[in-house]
Symmetry: C2
Subunit: 436 residues, 2 copies
């Protein structure tokens, strides 16, 4: 099938990330989509940069209007942001029958109604997964995954900068000003951080989600905004003493009286998952009538996570362009001809760390014997704790190992179980750090 | 647009739930989909039950083959489960050109390859969101939301029965046998719980996710299964002392040597979100190259959560049937003509509970004055704590209120700030229990 031609407006952080994702995962994306995604054209003032990251066939222009009007562009990927030229370009692209993929939350929250009406008229899609919560596929969940539900409320940590600042204030007891300065050093906060810390960014995102949830027009002007800049670290401490964490939440809720739409610092019981989302991470909790509570967690910003959402939208939109049935989402995610058997690793070959509990006679030298048998299989020990004597003469030894190959831990266990002083089977439970 | 005709095989828990979701949310679903979903036919041996839950026009048959062969059925919803008659019916339906929506994880994990090949041949879709993690839209996330990524690993709590048992063992220090008996009393475990507690159910689910993640055939026979029935509560306790929780995880991972596919009890660092998923809830963590870590949480079983996924698949499949562009997923989730402005609640009218911090002179009677002013606005106090004297003469009073209307808390704050003994602005932060 013919490649789909995309034109990218802007090669900033997300634009460059999008080009890299399309390049590095071209094969994987082709296996899923069944056609290639061709970076047909990019618009940037920095031609050298474009040449450095784009494939050789890409046309580079400094005239973004030439890109949106080009007859061979199928999809326009708008990554300029804001409501200035980006708005003019997106509207012009729609008028030229181009499908749009955008990460521009401000454009959608402030002009979504007008834009979607124009898109209906010109029979094109405007896709915006990347506009809310970065790489988390929350727009898809709200529009499609939860389509059987009446959505009751949404509460989200949807500004990574603010969440990083609040997490640091809590962990280190620092003041807002000190943590903001640190965040700026680390690149987590802009030189002018107003947009993030005063709730505007979260407000744009919760406004978009509110419309999707309740079938209402996007209405940013109705969103109450209160940021975190006036938060006193004392209140974070007191809240914690009472069993709460303070998070900047975007909240929207349907009640009998009307729709709530607001962004503000919020105390959450520390037992809730949302209260345990730390650092720059985002999470959105949706409460819906049939499914109950669901929660979606991941990176809310960054070049590659945001590009992951942009490219998912490009793939979705490419499926719309070709009406043949081979262009449906394939059953197993990949095109049937691309489903390939691969080596399935037998358990002996997996790599894991392990928890072991050994029941041994409480005699001198036993610990040393066990440690030696582990060492003989190249199993290194992270922790070894004697849990005390159970019945006067036998002891429980609990061991956490570093990562090793399963056949080696099994060999070590077999050797340990054959010791005279070990009378029961060794308990072995695998461990995962979830850091990969 | 013409209604889509569905035929439902089986009116058990999920079948009845599906009928109820389609009935109770018919208007909401119509607003999203742009056409009605008609329960054209159901197959059950209990006609009286069918008559009690289905709309009057529904045809009721005791011959499921009549349903799958009926020329007016567009989509067959298979909710019998298992690989006996359900398999024959699904294959026969596909041969008759019907799209399939199913919750049958066993059928997919054990015969998915054959089924999907037949579906390709007959140009129909087999949709199975409900087969994995109930109401969580994880299949959609893996197939579409993360389509730009190379997926590296998946780790999921995907059996609610096992997770309930492990959560209870940890919280109460009870034995496996005692908690299993309790789970059976509560209806969280079957009379014969083998399928859940020995990892078969989780194995089916991780097998399906593994195929979607890596583009490999479904291959349940390659899945290592180890359940929780031999877990000793001592090991849960020792793991906790070391900072870990034990969860039954389904794990699949792509490594240089091959693909890992396994289900077993696993120690997780207690700081990880997955370690904090308790009770019957499910969660799936996906690690992918571009987006990094994402996590999806929700109810993994139950009539309505599972039906939420079944109906989402019915909606998706209905869009495939009609090729007109009005049948795309609409921009704002609802059909353009169904996007309706609703009353936006001003902040004064929202309901919340509140954290207040009052800086007051440390004089007798101040606490009483504050409490009276809150009471005068019908604000009831959940906790009131004097945080101690800061500078010898002024005290910090921290108050948590019960739920109240915002204008009343504001009036109370205004009154408190006008007290002679209160010299600073009152700090007010909203609270959310996330229990709605």
């Amino acid at each position: 099938m013919k490649a789909v031609n995309i034109g990218i407006l802007g090669l900033g952080t997300v634009g460059k990330g999008t080009v890299e994702v399309l390049r590095d995962n071209a094969e994987e994306i082709g296996r899923r989509l069944g056609r290639a995604v061709n970076i047909f054209m990019v618009s940037t003032r920095d031609e050298a940069k474009a040449r450095a990251v784009c494939p050789p066939q890409t046309l580079v222009t400094s005239d973004p209007f030439a890109l949106v009007r080009h007859p061979d562009t199928d999809i326009v990927v708008e990554l300029y942001g804001g409501t200035g030229i980006a708005k003019d370009l997106v509207f012009e692209a729609v008028r030229h029958g181009k499908h749009i993929v955008t990460a521009n939350k401000k454009l959608l929250a402030e002009h979504g109604g007008e834009l979607f009406a124009l898109a209906e008229k010109h029979n094109v899609m405007v896709q915006f997964e990347a506009a809310v919560a970065g790489g988390i596929p929350i727009i898809k969940a709200l529009r499609e995954g939860l389509a059987a539900n009446k959505i009751r409320s949404i509460a989200g940590i949807i500004n990574g900068t603010s969440n990083f600042i609040l997490s640091e204030m809590r962990e280190k007891g620092s003041t807002f000003a000190d943590v903001l300065a640190e965040a700026q050093r680390l690149g987590y906060a802009e030189a002018d951080p107003t947009f993030d810390i005063e709730g505007h960014d979260a407000g744009h995102k919760i406004t978009i989600m509110s419309a999707l949830a309740f079938g209402t027009p996007v209405n940013f002007s109705a969103c109450y905004l209160e940021g975190i800049s006036k938060l006193d670290s004392r209140d974070i401490r007191y809240a914690e003493e009472l069993g709460y964490r303070i998070k900047l939440l975007g909240i929207t809720r349907r009640s009998a009286k009307g729709i709530e739409l607001r962004v503000h610092p919020t105390l959450l019981p520390e037992s809730r998952l949302l209260a345990n989302v730390n650092g720059v991470m985002n999470a959105v909790r949706v409460h819906a009538d049939m499914v109950g509570e669901t929660l979606y967690y991941g990176a809310g910003a960054g070049a590659r996570p945001t590009a992951s959402a942009v490219v998912a939208d490009i793939i979705d939109t490419s499926r719309l362009i070709a009406a043949d049935s081979g262009h449906r989402v394939p059953h197993l995610a990949f095109q049937p001809a691309q489903v390939q058997a691969q080596t399935m690793l037998p358990m002996d070959e997996i790599t894991s760390s392990y928890y072991l509990r050994v029941q041994a006679d409480d005699k001198p030298g036993v610990l040393g014997q066990i440690a030696s048998l582990l060492a003989a299989q190249n199993v290194s020990i992270e922790a070894l704790i004697q849990k005390g004597v159970r019945d006067g003469h036998s002891a429980e030894i609990v061991i956490l190992t570093h990562s090793t190959v399963e056949k080696q831990i099994k060999a070590a266990i077999e050797a340990i179980e054959s010791l005279d002083n070990v009378r029961e089977k060794v308990v072995m439970i695998r461990m995962e750090s979830l850091h990969d």
